[in-house]
């Protein structure tokens, strides 16, 4: 048994310590919004926040997540920035198949929390670890910019 702190709650998870956080979240806790895409930190579909930092849960063993705060997409809407990102995604019709978008939302939220007014280069750097096979990149960029404008509550 491993105790994880997920979305504000302690959770007992019956997995071996080497199990990637991804599979503990998905299979043991039923938090399937965090997606499997590659298992090698290449695509970003599994992005979660660990103490506020975007990490790839597919290569993060649960042993490295104990004593730290795990936030998944299921709870990111409770965050002001996360909510603005989700709203921009819906407003601009970013998703196509949608499978990678939870990871995109998590990466974008982490970016905006660190850099509230990101440049194009900031966006490239923060988002190029997230693959979208449907090719929604131009809308992702526009949605990040929109969310950046909204966060101050002026737009």
């Amino acid at each position: 048994m491993v105790t994880l702190h997920v979305n504000g709650k302690p959770q007992q998870v019956d997995v071996t310590p080497d199990t990637p956080l991804l599979w503990a979240l998905r299979d043991a806790l039923g938090l399937t919004g965090t997606k499997y895409g590659c298992g090698m930190a290449l695509c970003g579909a599994c992005t979660v926040h660990l103490d506020g930092q975007a990490v790839r849960s597919c290569v993060t063993p649960v042993s490295a997540a104990v004593q730290r705060k795990v936030t998944t997409v299921e709870a990111i809407g409770a965050d002001r920035v996360g909510k603005a990102v989700q709203a921009a995604w819906v407003e601009l019709g970013v998703p196509q198949c949608g499978y990678c978008q939870t990871g995109q939302v998590m990466s974008a939220t982490a970016l905006l929390k660190q850099k509230p007014q990101p440049t194009d280069a900031d966006i490239d750097a923060a988002m190029s670890g997230n693959i979208c096979r449907c090719g929604t990149y131009t809308r992702i960029r526009a949605a990040i910019q929109q969310a950046a404008g909204r966060k101050g509550g002026t737009k």
Partner: protein
Amino acid sequence: MNTPLDPTTSAASDAPSDSPLLLANVSRRGFLTGVSALGGLVLVVGFPAALRAADPPKYGADGMPDGWVDDPLAFVAIGEDGTVSIVCHRSEMGQGVRTSMPMIVADELEADWKRVRVVQAPADQKRFGNQDTDGSRSTRHFFDPMRRCGAAARAMLETAAAARWNVPVSEVEAQNHEVVHRASGRRLGYGALAKDAAKLPVPARETIRLKDPARFRYIGKGNLKLIDGPDIVSGKAQYAIDTRLDGMLYAVVARPPVYGGRVSKYDATQALKVPGVVRVVEIESSAPPAEFNPLGGVAVIARNTWAAIKGREALTIEWNDGPNAEYDSVVFKATLEQAARKPGKVVRNEGDVDAAMASAARRLEAEYYIPHHAHATMEPPAATARIVHGKCEAWGCIQSPQVARDRIAKRLGISLEDVKVNVTLLGGGFGRKSKPDFMIEAAVLSKAMGGAPVKVTWTREDDLHNSYHHTVSVEHLEAALDAQGKPVAWLHRTVAPTIISTFNADAKNQAPFELGMTAINMPFVIPNVRIENPEATAHTRIGWFRSVSNIPHAFAVQSFVAELAAAVGRDPKDFLLELIGPARRIDTRTQGDTWNYGESPERYPLDTGRLRRVIETAAREAGWGKALPQGRGKGVAVAYSFVTYVAAVVEVAISDKGELTIPRVDVAVDCGAQINPERVRAQMEGACVMGVSFATAGEISYKAGRVEQDNYHSYEITRMAAAPREIRVHLVPGSFSEPLGGVGEPGVPPIAPALCNAIFAATGKRIRGLPIRDQLKA
């Protein structure tokens, strides 16, 4: 309001006839289903017409298995609370079909979209009509039937209201979720009328009154958000990989690394010691052709996905690789090139190409190569199945649910009625998920586990190693030019293993549906034309990949036209327009084409006027002809595919070091009227990025019969920084009284040639083999 798609509870409760909703289960009188003469025989999903030449021609939805259905009782249910449930019988994989199709019904029904919920149909083609979601067909095949569905339901509600008020039905009118009596101003909501309406017969098709398109609320407006958008961004949306059932087991499968291979022997001792591993089960392999059969191999079944993955790593397997053990992409490229340099089966022949070539002022030739590709859907194939009292229920990210149902029934030896296939959201499809092999695996493993629910998850490595790959191709082009630089002869040899080889191991020539994708239906005004198809042997499972054979054919044809223009010092856009010639409507049968995307060549001629218009539109919007700074260039290409016309102008910037960026792409599309223009734009944007991706980065190659790429580090997909910075989509207006074109695929074919033509304009370097990778740095 937007109903989350929940596959774990989709059982009977999702089907409107089994719900407490009221406009359901009454007489089907007056409604006949449009049923294809092909019945249940689907040799190749999506390409039936190509394979049964003896049948009298049937076009459009009529040519598809189980045709179309326009029965409102199959698609619409209205609750007493006024909630309108509309069935979507096509699979959602990012094209927006769960929004666009119900929107058509809702508009004709005069339903308020805010009170509409969308219900995903399980596999049941007899009830819903064809469900094979590929070929860019959903909207063009079901726009009319879905309109009739909505209009018939509206008529029933109007009739019910008129009876309630004892007034002639001509005095009442449905308006935005209620029926109004014009003279008295009385109103009744749909919820209050549902019960009465359900008792009425469905009106006969010929009496149905469709809306005047001028009164559409949603169709053509682009004013509705994606129905699944909020669920997608909050992680609630359910894909096949997310299915969870009580007592569910998790499986991964070690499949033969070589096509046609099988297990010689295996040792599961160490695998069974991995904590969480429950059992190891062999899945029987079958000899090629693969068809839709599982590849076989050894499955590890565990308490969670990670344990199954670790268990599989601990297996010891000795494979018998079979006849494709020597498949090597470097060697095979040379084989294709040799075939392309010798005459092959002539599939179109006009004039005398040899004589024209011999006497021409100038001759040019070029060869183009595109390697295998994998769909690499972000959600890999995944499926869950359980068997209870001899009945199998399965959940999958499947483009062809009816085929999955049929094949599961056959593999388990049970009747079709005893198999239910639920369709989840698809995390990408692109043709991969038309093949239900992965769903059959889940059913086989559930059976091996005594009917317990088993979820099969393909890892990314599995997906790249064992896909139904896009074919590999060499296109050989030759042209003769007269003294004025005008092309007088055209020879195109297209060589590529055919998709048919996946169904008939001996097939070596491209099928009509492959040749009919931008090869045989070349529309240029050239007096001497010969198109040949030399043989090629498949050594892996060849499948269809978004826009299919248009990818190699359009790349070669549109690159070669630009090469000819450069050779004679002409502007490539003007030269292309001149080759296309004046506006005219070509019956593609006159070119030897028997495919035309399954559509009637009379209803859907190849219209060169429309081809010209998209080129002119894209060029104008892109500012074609304006001077560009050093290192920048623009390229143009066009394609007619899936009865839609798309032109692209790509602008590139290439640094001194040969680094490529794409500041802007202008895409002009003429797909006829746009039902959901916002999603048409989205599809063109996505198709553009996919085109850039296979043009610049990815490649699937084989060595010793095995795929050399394992994951996204070796099979590269375009990422944000390398994607076009701006994609501008220009929609050519269309009329709702004209036939519709496809949208999901046609945006792909022009991108790679337009990109390479732009690179030529910027640098003078001609790319003939994809991917580009570091060719610009040489």
